[in-house]
Symmetry: C2
Subunit: 257 residues, 2 copies
């Protein structure tokens, strides 16, 4: 299906098939070799980028819509998406913005069309190993690209605000949920784990504080091996205790209260 | 306005005035003298209770709707409400449940009426000093009562699930945001603050761990006074450093990473 046909089909079928007034937007963070990136979709007309987002089917769970959007737009699958905030200001919906785009598409949209009405959006975020995924661009074939978190281009509408809030939520998450599984090798050193935290927090951490705190969470096993190929004082290897890791995902970390 | 009139007016005006498919529900926790309670509204027909909830105006921010609902239904004002989760499963909307109620109201509602359609709800929670507020019952005059968190009655629909999720979110919040301002006297002892945490977490905490951790957050000032009327080893008094407390509300606690 060509781009204009798929947009046209959405606009026609949407009123009947989609939940009104509600959308989802996904902030997909990528980690690889101490770099933090975010996955963005090129706007079809503008020199701007957008978070992968979409609408919700009339009978579709909101979480399922987020997973579907992610899969459709990026090819990514089976990533844990975390709801983090609802963006519900009326001003976030810009009728004129969309009208200009549809005009460029050569599509006529009436002033009271459902797509021009106010939308509240539910924000989701995830953190993945970005070297393991190859973003596809889905049924609406815009470019979908990883951007360095420090070099994010101009985003449409309130997407920059959504991204910033997601990053703050991800950083908060370090304080109550475990992180790192699927981002690190199965066996990793304490400095490797610390680097992950430093990359997300975008700051240096004290080595001893970090070690004390992270061991206090009770989700790590120290293995009876040291890192190979290191000349002397080889660092110990650790792995996640997956049972405790999963429990902590559900119930929160052991925070030593 | 009588109850049936106000429900009737809502049903008539809602389609034009309200955002479709979206609602808000508020979980108001109350703390007083080491007790945790939750504010519930009696269902008008059933031997069941509900969270204070409501709809969103077409041009109303979602957060403003939560504050309005709270004010209308409980008389409470100027409480910080925290968005915590969106409940977006299609199965949460029960057409039959509402039809039975409207029948008892003596109100005819057509099968495709907006109020019978699927609703996604945004959950908000807050924690207040419950001795300072006198719940009013708002324009729809159901009883509005504080319930002990251990003795919550049967709730309608998925409200028990929403309440449980809010309590989990409140407990998580202890790990990344400060709590206690407006819940404790201006000057308080370490044991009083610890009791607040213990009440929310519903478990005993180790005194020394608690003190070390809470002081590490950097939001407390130790005053040059001790608690009066205590025979010997009078405990020191503390107050919140409001500047640092506010910063921590916005940016998260200093977690010693």
């Amino acid at each position: 299906m060509k781009k204009n046909e798929s947009i046209g089909a959405l606009l026609t079928a949407g009123e009947q098939d989609l939940l009104p007034a509600l959308s989802v937007d996904c902030v997909i963070f990528g980690f690889h070799e101490n770099q933090l990136k975010v996955l963005l979709v090129k706007h079809r007309h503008r020199d701007m980028w957008a978070l992968p987002g979409g609408f919700i089917g009339k009978e579709e769970p909101t979480d399922a819509a987020a997973y579907r959007v992610l899969k459709e737009r990026t090819g990514l699958n089976e990533i844990f998406l975390q709801q983090f905030h609802v963006f519900g200001e009326p001003e976030r919906s810009k009728k004129e913005f969309h009208l200009q785009d549809f005009k460029k598409d050569g599509i006529n949209v009436t002033a009271n069309h459902w797509i021009l009405q106010r939308f509240v959006t539910i924000g989701y975020y995830a953190l993945v190993e970005f070297s393991k995924v190859s973003p596809a661009s889905g049924s609406i074939p815009e470019k979908c690209v990883w951007w360095d978190i420090h070099k994010v281009p101009t985003l449409i509408l309130d997407h920059r605000k959504i991204l910033d809030k997601a990053l703050a939520a991800l950083r908060m998450q370090l304080n109550y949920q475990p992180i790192g599984y699927n981002l690190l090798p199965k066996k990793f050193t304490m400095p490797e784990l610390q680097k992950l935290y430093e990359t997300i927090l975008d700051k240096k951490l004290d080595r001893r504080n970090f070690q004390r705190k992270i061991l206090g969470f009770g989700i790590l096993c120290r293995l009876d091996e040291t890192k190979e190929g290191v000349a002397h004082k080889a660092p110990y290897l650790y792995s996640f205790d997956l049972k405790k890791y999963d429990d902590a995902l559900n119930d929160g970390l052991n925070l030593g209260w």
